[in-house]
Symmetry: C2
Subunit: 101 residues, 2 copies
DNA sequence: AGCATTAGTAAGCAATCACTTACGTAAGCA
DNA sequence: TGCTTACGTAAGTGATTGCTTACTAATGCT
């Protein structure tokens, strides 16, 4: 899925955003991701599921390890939504400013 | 405020996103905004407060009416955060792809 | 085979959220 | 001055969320 709501919900949580930012720098194992966090490993696992379902990250299994990396599909979906909305938003803002002259 | 968490949280709710999208098209009165929604007027009022606190919209009072319009500060804050993150994300994605060759 | 490692799932719980109805407040208007 | 319009705030409630501990599943290692 690349539903807009799920994307925003996924990134609304600070822990999840932190996880995504770290994965964005480079691919990481689930366990290593958990180590840098204040919450327990299961909590991280649940957060990663939300990010996966949103289409922001993807997993690749390698033995017992799971390598998390950025999924460009979700990133692209969000970018396109925002570009559209930002565009009309800033356009409306300009028109409102002009109306004041 | 233009805190990143508040920005994402504000847009994570579908009702709030709808409100923001409508305001993005053109400035609107609080009452008119409520008319297009399925929830009650007080609910809309509460949502508008969240959008205001996030810095995504701003109000201008005119008698008893309140005109809501886009606040470019919040929009800009979110855009800059995303540009940074998307950049590193897609960069990491490219590097991962190259590593596979 | 048996134990350790890696990671997801289940169950339960306190905190937060989005919603409703009821109320408060300030400006228009007769 | 009293009634109406426009809107925010308060209080209460069911649903959802993020967290924890306990458990399960699958692979690695000796």
């Amino acid at each position: 899925m690349t539903n807009i709501s799920t994307l925003f919900v996924a990134l609304a949580d600070p822990t999840r955003r932190k996880l995504f930012e770290r994965i964005a720098v480079r691919s990481m194992l689930a366990g290593d991701l958990a180590k840098g966090m204040r919450v327990t490993r299961p909590a991280v696992s649940q957060h990663l599921k939300v990010l996966r379902d949103a289409g922001l990250v993807k997993v690749e299994q390698e033995g017992t390890r799971r390598i998390y990396s950025v999924d460009p599909r979700g990133v692209e979906a969000m970018r396109s939504y925002l570009n559209r909305t930002w565009d009309t938003a800033l356009q409306a803002f300009k028109q409102a400013a002009e109306r004041k002259d």
